[in-house]
């Protein structure tokens, strides 16, 4: 990694260069490049099959790229680490389908996510300190789940589960949050509230949001990257991107 010391790399939080992934000959990502600065919130749009989820999989270590570089914080080569190591470095992920621990209480969901030693010994003999409890209380308030803390997460509504999952990400306190379609299946008021929540989170975290819902992306008001067939098609403000004739063709031409 000869250019590891170059300024362009050290200033970025996430640096993807020429990343390609193929599954049985199908190219999910074709030489994808993307740079995210610390504190930045970015929206990723693109039609189905554009490679949005595969990109998330590469960043979080679920999928190893065939070629290309993925650097985090200028130092860590994510292609050499597994999911747990990457998560420990400070990359959190929210899935498209809300995945909370359905048989655990809301509070326990947050407890498991809270930044703390993850070893078997630490969880077997450790005690929860008051700091952890305060963090959990604060997150319960942010995500409007304080009244539901003792409920089994499986009994929450769809929107509440989405928020709980975002709350779990907050508890992890990652440097980078990957959020996959956070408003899918939400009502309009829930969508607006989620946009508020994400903007609040973006104040002290870097965030990548993958979303189909253009109203929501407009509400976020951040830089947009449009993916198509595994590569970046356009990048800029939402107005610039949606004015790009190639983007129009991709979205409307089929």
């Amino acid at each position: 990694m000869s250019e590891a010391g170059s300024p362009s790399l050290t200033q970025t939080l996430l640096y993807l260069d020429g990343v390609s992934v193929s599954f049985d000959g199908y190219k999910a990502l074709r030489s994808l490049s993307l740079v995210l600065l610390p504190g930045e919130m970015r929206a990723i749009i693109g039609p189905n099959g554009a490679g949005k989820t595969t990109m998330m999989d590469v960043i979080t270590g679920k999928t190893r790229p065939d070629e290309g570089e993925v650097m985090f914080d200028g130092r860590h080569d994510l292609t050499k680490l597994d999911e747990a190591e990457i998560a420990t470095l400070g990359v959190g992920r929210k899935f498209q389908k809300p995945t909370v621990f359905e048989n655990h209480t809301v509070e326990d969901n947050l407890l498991l996510a809270t930044k703390a030693p993850r070893s078997v010994r630490a969880t077997l003999f450790g005690r929860e300190d008051s700091e952890t409890l305060q963090t959990i209380n604060a997150i319960l308030a942010t995500t409007r789940l304080t009244d539901h803390r003792a409920r089994i997460a499986g009994s929450l509504s769809h929107g509440q589960k989405q928020w709980l999952e975002i709350g779990m990400l907050l508890a992890q306190d990652p440097k980078l949050l990957l959020v996959d379609e956070p408003v899918a299946g939400m009502t309009d008021s829930e969508t607006a509230a989620t946009a508020d929540l994400l903007r609040e989170i973006a104040r002290d975290h870097s965030v990548i949001v993958v979303e189909h819902d253009m109203h929501f992306v407009r509400e976020l008001g951040v830089k947009v990257t449009c993916l198509h067939e595994g590569a970046v098609l356009a990048e800029g403000t939402l107005d610039q991107v949606s004015a790009d004739p190639r983007v129009v063709e991709v979205y409307l031409g089929r």
Binding site: E83, N103, H104, L112, A113, R118, V120, L124
Partner: protein, 374 residues
């Protein structure tokens, strides 16, 4: 859910404590003419049930709380049993048929001149007890290390645990392997100097089994109640999610698997002096499957349910194999099918149902989750 379960758990422990005191009294102090007299064979039978209950608790720890349906737990039970059997064999000494002070009878019969290295030290009780926990524990560690790192899960993991116990089953059958082959180890005389034929030894072994069951429950309950336990259940429900939060899932599984194997080994060690024999049939794949049925019938993910299931099914087995021997296997199969269909939470689910504040919700969520990912 868990508060109610803990109350039942306390009741369960109380019953075991009473049994550990009462059974020896009824067997040793009460006159044989009395209606309350417990003959030694019955004490031995009850002790055997308790050993099965310990095995069931061990299996429930990994199956009920971590989703690892091990169909090879009989192997850990049998290995613990063999370690105890080897100690008992060396205690026979010159009282064997061939009166060899060092070599057990089967070795003399095979014309062996020296004691194999694997048998060294087994005349010393503490060493044998160390092996009771070490051998199953190390096997589980090695097996689990490979299996969990390779992310083998679900039914594939169940199949390779079956293969593991089957491989040991075949290996222990061989005379050359050095553990008595097909006949296994038997004709035991005494344990720590106490004759295994004596009613008092049988009563003591029963009480020891009851205490071991209490300890197995207490240790498992403490593990489940810690943050580790919450993480373990989260691994069961959403494994990849736990990885993305930063947990080393394979280490979580490995720890539970090793603890469970050690508990199973202890159960086997208590079982062997009570039944008086250990042979390769204890490794038979069917034994491990039967243990899974006990847990399912009693109620997985409850610990005490597993123990109750083991005792209830084995009681039924003892009765039915006596009364209608040819129908027992059909009965066992039927029990499993009906239990899965109508009692997703087992016998214990039945006990918990009446008292739950909102049982439907919890039970149905569990049933769907568990059904989807065995």
């Amino acid at each position: 859910m868990s508060a109610r379960l803990d109350h039942l758990g306390l009741g369960f422990v109380a019953i075991l404590i009473v049994a550990a005191i009462l059974v020896p009294l009824l067997s040793l102090v009460v006159s044989p003419d009395s209606a309350f007299y417990l003959p030694p064979y019955l004490v031995q039978l009850l002790g055997k049930y308790l050993c099965y209950a310990i095995l069931a608790v061990a299996l429930d720890l990994v199956w009920g709380y971590c989703g690892i349906l091990s169909l090879g737990h009989g192997a850990f039970f049998a290995l613990g049993g063999y370690a105890m059997g080897m100690y008992l064999m060396r205690q026979i000494g010159t009282r064997g048929v061939y009166a060899n002070p060092i070599l057990p009878d089967f070795m003399v019969f095979l014309n062996w001149k020296e004691l194999p290295v694997a048998w060294w030290g087994f005349n010393w009780f503490p060493y044998a007890m160390l092996m009771v926990v070490l051998v199953p524990g190390l096997l589980a560690l090695a097996f689990g290390w490979f299996a969990f790192r390779s992310r083998v899960t679900g039914v594939y993991l169940s199949i390779i645990t079956q293969a593991m116990t089957f491989a040991l089953f075949k290996e222990f059958f061989r005379n050359d392997f050095g553990f008595g082959g097909n006949n296994g180890l038997t004709d035991f005389k005494d344990l720590l100097g106490f004759s295994l034929q004596a009613a008092s030894t049988k009563a003591a072994l029963f009480s020891a089994s009851a205490i071991a069951l209490i300890l197995a429950y207490a240790v498992s309950r403490a593990i489940i109640g810690s943050k580790y336990g919450k993480a373990l259940m989260a691994v069961r429900d959403a494994e990849s999610r736990m990885r993305f939060i930063g947990y080393r899932v394979e280490n979580y599984k490995l720890f539970a698997f090793v603890v469970s194997a050690i508990i199973a080994g202890i159960a086997g060690a208590l079982y062997v002096p009570q039944v008086g024999i250990i042979n390769p049939s204890e490794f038979a794949p069917a034994n491990s499957i039967e243990a899974a049925i006990w847990v399912a019938v009693g109620g997985r993910g409850t610990l005490i349910g597993a123990a109750i299931g083991a005792i209830a099914v084995n009681f039924a087995k003892t009765y039915f194999t006596g009364a209608f021997p040819e129908y027992w296997l059909y009965g066992l199969g039927l029990l499993f099918v009906l239990g899965t269909l109508f009692l997703p939470k087992g016998l214990l689910g039945l006990a918990l149902r009446g008292s739950e504040p909102k049982p439907r919700e919890v039970v149905s969520v569990d049933a769907v989750e568990e059904g989807a990912e065995p």
